[in-house]
Symmetry: C2
Subunit: 218 residues, 2 copies
């Protein structure tokens, strides 16, 4: 009798997710791997183990490793874009300082966006847009919104708009940098880390609001 090829003992009971859920779980696991071990840690077999599936299942859902990475990029970018849209909608001038910074920091840190963007930027040093989203346009939108809030819809000069856009970009870069290397540079212990970060953001927020609100140049 030929040894049975099929059942082979009792394989683990199979759990069947909807395609959507499966994709989400896989992406979450991949994100976790990226956060914890860097780009090299994104390995189909390990991700599959995390999720509790076999690695060909990942290929079934994403086509290839590259497809998975692209989906990872796309998800993060759209999360950020939605975030920004929400900001643009909930337009309140007063709380814009610290709250915007905290929100940005949250997206960069907790959602792992900073790492993802950094990795992406390393892979594609010359890219100008990602997933159909145009970062300069986002920056410009935010800048113009802030301009109009400050000056009450008056026409603002080009120089002024550039300064505001500098401020926006500084905020983004700072939160990006903080997410990636903030811990390394901070002298604070693990307990005071959060408090110190908050103080830093408050300080930065003050700095930006002050400099941008006062149209004092030079």
């Amino acid at each position: 009798m030929p040894e049975q090829k099929k059942p082979v003992g009792a394989s683990a009971p199979r759990r069947r997710r909807s395609a959507e859920v499966a994709r989400r779980e896989i992406l979450d696991a991949a994100q976790r791997r990226l956060d914890e071990g860097g780009p090299d840690a994104i390995r189909l077999q390990e991700i599959a183990r995390d999720v509790g599936i076999a690695h060909p299942t990942i290929l079934h859902h994403f086509g290839s490793r590259d497809g998975l990475i692209q989906a990872l990029d796309a998800r993060a970018i759209h999360a950020l874009s939605d975030d920004v849209s929400a900001m643009l909608q909930g337009r309140r001038a007063q709380d814009s300082g610290i709250e915007l910074l905290e929100r940005l920091a949250h997206t960069m840190n907790d959602l792992g966006l900073a790492r993802l963007i950094a990795w992406w930027a390393m892979r594609e040093p010359n890219a100008r847009a990602l997933e159909g989203i145009d970062p300069p346009a986002l920056v410009r939108n935010i800048s113009q919104l802030i301009c109009s809030q400050i000056e009450g819809d008056e026409a603002h000069s080009t120089e002024r708009e550039e300064v505001v856009s500098f401020g926006v970009r500084l905020a983004v870069m700072a939160m990006f940098g903080e997410a990636l290397i903030g811990d390394i540079m901070s002298p604070a212990g693990a307990e005071q880390r959060d408090a110190e970060r908050h103080r830093f953001r408050a300080w930065l927020s003050d700095l930006l609001v002050e400099k941008i609100a006062d149209p004092r140049d030079d």
Copy 2:
């Protein structure tokens, strides 16, 4: 007759470098690969081809791929450390603003330090020191120097020193961020890129000098 195992045709004339030179050339090539294609592009065979050697030669000099990467890290970190030391030596209060920023930007961009640090931070999310160098201590040194320059060696308060250290860290994070994602966020075309960056740095420098020099808190 057994086919000859030895000479096999005329192989390319062999160039012999000193170990030091060989190591440097290999590291340079690896750095270039990292800059252009990200971490995944660091492959022994390709690096070897760039240098014009066989890949086992790299292993001869660095022991393993990991050894090469560690050497890459070490070189960059020490370059940065030396840079900082030089700053601390050439202590002039006046030009400290824009020149320090430009110098930082140069190290981050042209020497590829930003990419290397980003990659390193992604691989070792929980590291506190690298290659025996303690970033918080560097930050503190610079902060104290700036403090004493401003206040003429008076005793400065702890709060004040924190503010200054915030400024230093903001500068580092901003230049780090600019090196990695500055191009993506900038609306400027390739020609005006440099000019715009310079304006941005000048603006940031003003911002920092202004805020830090004036001990006006709240």
